[in-house]
Amino acid sequence: MSPCQTSRAANPIPVRAGIGLRAPHHRELVESRPDAGWLEVHSENYFGDGVPLHYLERARELYPVSLHGVGSSLGSADPLNRDHLRKLKQLIDRIEPGLVSEHLCWSSIDGRYLNDLLPLPYTQEALDHVVARIVEVQELLGRQILIENLSSYVQFSQSAMPEWEFLAAVAERADSGILLDVNNIYVNARNHGFDPLVYLRAVPAARVREIHLAGHTVKRYDDGEILIDTHSARVCDDVWTLYRAAIAHLGVRPTLIEWDSELPALSVLLDEARIAQHFMEHAHDGVAA
């Protein structure tokens, strides 16, 4: 073991509830050291060498940390952004995260970034492409990564398979893990009209290493409504129900509460994490009863 690891929290992400750490909570977290199983941050927010990285290193001494990327643009038809991956590798070397994850999406084309998680068409072409890219990224980073399913608001006419089949095939062929976002399954089930339990049953359980939970927003129009994955609210009751179904089916997994906009007090995130923790500890109660 290298000497710099001795002051750090153990590396693996425990099978507990954790919280997403965002800049406004940096100082409070390292000063108050609340009880949280683990932390996850957006990798790109720590690509600089300044204040955010300072806090992440302090947080890393106290908690297991997972790095969650939002900007690798894995599914883009552009060449991989080597500079981005070099920065990610540097951050991984520095933080020694328990898990590294990215989204099953694209976010740039012709060098222009939309800074959003955009859906792929579920075609053989997209599947072959994104598998090759994940394999390449895993080689570059020297480790397996987790791939996360996302919320989407469009459906491509080209799509030849359902989302769950695409996700499972990507993970199997690229030999990656899966970060299963239960809120995103719920949002897509509502937006695109499928049964979220069909999705859950199709997920290869052994590949799921982490679960995400977040709040969404319901946008209402005169002629209907659509769910937007805003990460701006508490997890809703339906998503908690789906989460319980997920852990009953897959087994308990490290579970993260994500909150990105309209960030509340740190105590609210911890409160949500306690709810997740409770369900994890009683995962089999429903089955027994």
């Binding site: 600089g48 060498d49 599914g75 222009r112 959003d116 459906q155 491509f156 906009s261």
Partner: protein
């Protein structure tokens, strides 16, 4: 003919940035017409990027108001879309963009306020470095002092403006409860933005002091820095200014360029 993945992504990006509807032939209607589904991405992309700009430029946003800032951001995003998946650098061209932005022309000080905010942002994200240890200067013999180049701390940024930007910045900070008036004719201002630990601080500099630090930032030696400082401020006390900046840890080191 079926669009390739690249064509689909190009049509998607054009659908968001240029409001092209080419993509619609490749989208299914869902709960709503396909165009309404695409519109969600248009809204999300612009809202997120506007938020990212607002996070770097809170004072500019406060000065022009949320609505005008949205209008400015919209134009900026179309002209300077992000070029990487790390949005830290995304706002770098905003000061120059504001300077050329016709609808903001009446706010002559706005580009400099934007430059100050970008300097603050860069300083916040810059690497840390140990400060220069004063004793190490003792090893340098006086006859080669002129050949010394001081290294500014990696977080140091220098700015000068014809407007009182620091005052504008201060009265627009959250929680400011003092006298909010700003005299726009207060005269030219020279500023040093630098980080100590996790705190970015902005300090006003004299003309000579600014010229000296600017010279070091440009890699010039102490002899050249002194000439520059004395040219703009004949009574400039070089020794006092150097001592002060060593004490307040403006420098991270020095080198001799005589060899």
């Amino acid at each position: 003919m079926t669009a390739s993945l690249r064509e689909l992504q190009q049509a998607f990006a054009a659908g968001v940035f240029e409001e092209s509807n080419t993509l619609l032939t490749d989208l299914r209607d869902g709960g709503f017409r396909a165009v309404q589904h695409l519109q969600i991405y248009r809204n999300n992309v612009f809202a997120k990027l506007t938020d990212a700009l607002g996070a770097c430029y809170p004072v500019v946003q406060k000065l022009v108001g949320e609505e005008f800032f949205g209008f400015l951001a919209d134009a900026y995003i179309r002209r300077h879309p992000p070029r990487s998946g790390d949005v830290h650098d995304f706002g770098s061209a905003l000061p120059e963009f504001v300077a050329a932005f016709e609808p903001a022309r009446s706010l002559a000080y706005l580009p400099d306020v934007a430059r100050l905010e970008w300097a603050w942002h860069e300083s916040y994200h810059a690497a840390d470095a140990a400060p220069l240890v004063p004793e190490t200067l003792g090893a340098v013999s006086p006859e080669v002092y002129a050949c010394i180049v001081f290294h500014l701390h990696p977080s140091a940024r220098l700015l000068q403006s014809a407007f009182p930007c620091l005052r504008i910045w201060q009265v627009n900070q959250p929680g400011f409860d003092g006298e909010p008036t700003v005299n726009l004719d207060a005269g030219a201002e020279r500023l040093l933005v630098i980080r100590h630990g996790v705190d970015v601080v902005i300090g006003a500099l004299g003309a000579g002091e600014y010229a000296m630090l600017r010279a070091f930032a440009d890699g010039k030696n102490l002899g050249e820095a002194a000439d520059g400082a004395l040219a703009v401020e004949p009574a400039f006390d070089l020794g006092a200014a150097l001592r002060r900046h060593v004490v307040v840890e403006t420098f991270s080191g020095f080198e001799r360029l005589d060899e």
